[in-house]
C-alpha cells in the first residue's frame, strides 16, 4: 500500500532499525502508530509521564520497573528507535538465524531476554541482585497479608537456591543458570491478518529460554 511506504519513509533510519530489530515493515508501522498515540503532545519522544498514563501498566505490580527499563541511565526521554529496540526483546527467537561469529547478538536472543528480566530485578545496575532488591520485588508482587518475616524467608530461600558462589547475591550467570531448566508456560500470541491490525508476536519465552544451542 502506498501509505505504508510513505509512513516508513517518515521514520528516520528505518532500514537500520528493521535490520537491528528484525521487525517487519508492518510491525514498525504498528509500533509507530502506537508511539504516536502515546506521545500525546507530539514531541517526538516519550517521557515517563506518557508511560504512566497507561492505566493498565500502572496497575501492574512491576509497572514502574518496566517503564524504567525503557529509559537508559541519564536519559529522560525515549525516542522511537529506543522504543522499538526495547520492544524487540520480546520478539520470538529466530530459530534459523545463521550463526555468524562476528555479528552482534540479536536483540531477541534468549540471553538478551534474560538480561532484560535481570535488569528488572537489578535496579542499581551493579550486575547483581542483592537481597534487598529481591525483597523489593517480592514486596511488589505479593499482597499485603504477607508479613516481613515470610518475605525474608522467601528471599533467603531464593538466594540460597540460586547463589552458587555464596556471596549472598545473584549474579547474571547464576540467574541464567537458575532459569535454564525451566519451562515458563506463559503463552501469549496474537496474530491478526490485516494491515493496521498486525500485532507483535510475543510468545513462548519458555521454549526460547530453554533452547540449548543458544547458550
Amino acid at each position: 500500500m502506498g501509505s505504508t511506504n510513505s509512513t516508513l519513509l517518515k521514520i528516520p533510519n528505518v532500514e537500520v532499525l528493521m535490520q537491528e530489530t528484525g521487525f517487519s515493515p508492518a510491525h514498525i508501522i504498528r509500533l509507530h502508530d502506537r508511539f504516536k498515540a502515546l506521545d500525546k503532545e507530539g514531541r517526538g519522544h516519550l517521557c515517563p509521564h506518557d508511560f504512566g498514563a497507561i492505566k493498565e501498566l500502572a496497575m501492574n505490580p512491576i509497572g514502574d520497573r518496566i517503564i524504567g527499563a525503557f529509559f537508559s541511565p541519564g536519559k529522560e526521554t525515549v525516542d522511537f528507535h529506543t522504543f522499538v529496540k526495547i520492544l524487540a526483546h520480546f520478539r520470538p527467537v529466530d530459530k534459523d538465524r545463521p550463526k555468524e561469529p562476528n555479528s552482534p547478538e540479536p536483540i531477541n536472543s534468549r540471553s538478551n531476554k534474560l538480561k532484560f528480566a535481570f535488569q528488572l530485578y537489578d535496579q542499581d545496575k551493579d550486575g547483581k541482585i542483592s537481597r534487598d532488591e529481591l525483597l523489593q520485588v517480592l514486596r511488589a508482587m505479593l499482597g499485603m497479608q504477607v508479613t516481613d518475616e515470610q518475605l525474608e524467608s522467601i528471599a533467603d530461600r531464593t538466594i540460597q537456591e540460586a547463589d552458587l558462589d555464596r556471596d549472598d547475591t545473584i549474579s547474571f550467570e547464576e540467574f541464567r543458570k537458575a532459569c535454564k531448566h525451566k519451562r515458563f508456560t506463559m503463552f501469549r500470541f496474537c496474530i491478526r491478518p490485516g494491515e493496521r491490525k498486525l500485532m507483535l508476536t510475543l510468545c513462548h519465552w519458555s521454549s526460547e529460554l530453554q533452547d540449548q544451542h543458544e547458550l
Binding site: A53, I54, G74
Partner: protein, 755 residues
Amino acid sequence: MPQVEDTDPDPDPGETTQAVFTLNYPRIQIPFEITLWVLLASFAKIGFHVYHKITVWVPESCLLISIGLIVGGIMHSLHEKPPAVLTSNAFFLYMLPPIVLDSGYFMPTRPFFENFGTVLWFAVVGTLWNSIGIGISLFAICQIEVFGVQDITLQENFLFASIISAVEPVAVLTVFEDISVHEQLYIVVFGECLFNDAVTVVLYNLFNHVAALEVVEAGDVFLDIGRFFVVGLGGTIFGALFGFVTAFTTRFTGKVREIEPLIIFLYSYLAYLIAELFAISSIMAIVICALTMKYYVEENVSQRSCTTIRHVIKMVGSVSETLIFFFLGVVTITTEHEWNWGYILFALLFALLWRGLGILVLTQIINPFRTIPFNFKDQFGLAYGGLRGAVSFALAFTLPDNIGRKDLFITGTIVVIIFTVFIQGITIRPLLKLMNVRKTNRNQETINDEIHKRLMEHTVAGIEDLCGQWSHYYWKDKFMKFNNRILRKILIRDNHPESSIVALYKKLELQNAMEVLDQMSGDISAAPSLISLHEERKNASKSRKKFLSSDVTNMHELLSKNMYKIRHRTVSYTNKHTLPDDITAREILMRRHTSLRRSLRAGSFHGTNAAKMSQKYFSLPMGRSLNSRFPPRRLVHAGDGDIESEINYSSIRHPQRVSSKAVMPLRPLNTLKEVASSVNTVDGQNEEQRGCRRSHLGSNVSRSGHLTSHLPHGSSRNCSDGDHDAWVEEPQNNSDVQHPLMRRPHWLPQKPHDK
C-alpha cells in the same frame, strides 16, 4: 390473620369505649409480609458469611434455595400458603429490572467490548441452539406413548425449552478465579449470563405468543425470526439513547448532588418500561443504557453519589435475586406438583447434553477468530458451569394458565434448577481443581521458578498493555477520537482530559485514603516497612539458614495464594453477589504512594543505608541526571537513585502543590526538621549530603510558606551555593514533566461542594 381488638376496661359506662390498644393487621399486611420476607432473606445472607468456608464450597444460590426449602417445610407443616407475590407483573416489572441492571452496570466495559463478538456468539446463538435443540428432542420424547405427554404441542415444548436454557454461570466465576483461568473467560461468562437472559425473555414471549396459536404457518416463523432481531436491535438502540440522555442530564446536576442517584435509577427504569411498552427487548434496553451511561455519569457525578449508585444497585439487585431463590425453595415444598418421570428426567438430560454439545460446537467455530482460543478446560468450565438461575424459575412460574401442562413445566424447571445448582454447583470446584492440578507439577518447581515466572508474566502483560495489544486498535481508536472530540464535550460537565491514572485514583477512592495517610505524621504506612528488616539483617547471622521441606512447601503455598495475578481487573468482577473488589489495585497504588513519601522522610531513619527503606522501587529515572551532575561525591549505594529521583519529583511538585492546596507532602516535610537534627548524628558523608539535599528541599519548600526555613548548620559546609542553584534549576527544566502519580487530582478543589 383475624383482627384482634383489645378493649381496656373503661369505668365510664354508657359511652362507646375507645380502645387504647388495638391491633390492626390487615392494614399493614402486605408491606409487612414483604418486609419480613426480605429481612429473612437478608438474615440468611448474613448467616452464610459467618462461616467463610461454606461460601467457598457452596454457591450462594444453593444456600438460598436450602433456606427456602426449610422455610417452605415449616410453612407446609403449618398448612400455610406462601404469599402470592410472584405474579407475572410483579416479576417482570419489579423484580427483573434490578437484577439485570445490576449485571449491566457492573459489566466491565472495556473487556466487554473487546470480546463483544464472542459474548454475543455464546449468548445469542448458544441460547438459540439450546432452546431449539431441547425443544425438538423433547417433542420427540413426547411422541413416545409410554410417557403419556402427547398433548404437549411443539410450541409448548419450545416454550419449556427456552425457559430451561437460561443459564447463569456466574456462580462459577469464583471457582474460575482460583484456578486462574484466563480473563477472557470471565468476561464471556459474565456477558453470556447477561445477554442470554435477554434472549430467553424474547424467546419466551415469542413462543408464548406462538403457543397460543392453533396453527403455525411458515410465514409466521419467518416473521418471528425477523421480529427477534428487531426486538434485540431495537432494545439496544433504545438503551443507548437513554444512556446518552442520562449522561446529558447529569451534566447539570452539579448543584443538586442528592438527587443524582435518583436520576440514574429513574432513567434506567424508564428505559425498561418504555421498551416494554413497545414490546422490544427491555432487558437489552436497560443493560445498554447502563453500559453507555456509566462511563459519562461516573465523571459527572460526585464521588459519594457514585458510591451510592453502586451500592443501591447492588443491594436491590441482590435482594431481588435472593427473593426469587428463596421463593423457589418455598414453592418447591408447598405447591402441588405434577410429576412425570419420563418427561422431566429427559428434560434434565437434554438440558445438560445440549449445553455441552453447544459449547463444544460453538467453541470450535469461534476459536479461529479469537486471539486466545478456548482450551478444553475452559470449555468444560463453561459447559459444566451452566447453572440455571432465578430467571428460569420466575419465567416458569409466571406462565399463563392457558398452557395445559403448566404445573408439569414448573416442576420440570424446579428439578433442573435444583439439580444444576446443587450438584453442579458444588462439584465444579473439585472437578476443575482436579483437571488443573494434573497439568502442573507443582513440586518440581523451586521458589526461584515461581518468582521468576510470575515476574515474567507480569512483564509480558505490561508490555502488551504498553503496545495496546488487546484492543481492536483501529475501531477503538476511531471511537475514542469521536468520543474525545464530540461526546465528552457534550455529555461531561468539566471536561478536562484527566490522565487515566488520576481517574483511577479517583475511582478507587484513594484520594480519601491518601489524605488519611498524609495526616499521620508518624510511621504509619500502608505497607510494612523494611527498616526493621534491615536492622534485623545486620544482627542475623551470616550462616546459611536451613530450610526444611515443610518450610519450602509453606513458601510455595504462600506464593501461590498471595502473588498478584496478572491483570488484576479480573478479580474485580468475579463475584456477582458482592461489590467489585478493588483491593489489589489499591494496594499497589497505595504502596507506590507510600514509597514516595517514605523516601522524603529518609532522614528520620538511622540506618546506614537509607535507600533500603523504599520498599517499592520507584524507577522512573528522571533523577538520574543528578547522578551525572554530582558523581564525585557519591558512592554508589543501591537505591540512592531512588532518593534522588524521589527528591526530584517532590521539587517538581512545588508549583502544583501551591496551586491546588494539596495536602500531600505537607506533614512529611515536617520531618525535615528531624533531618536537620539527625544530620549531626549520622555518620558518613553520604548522609550529610542527603541531609543537605533535603534541607535544600526544605528551603525550597519554605518559599511556599509551609515551613520555616532551617538550613542545618552542620551540613552547610558541604553545600555550596553553586550546588544550591544547580539544584534549584533542575526542577524548572522538568517542571513541565510531571508524573501523574505525584500530581494532585484535578477534582480536589471541587470537594467543598460535596456534601
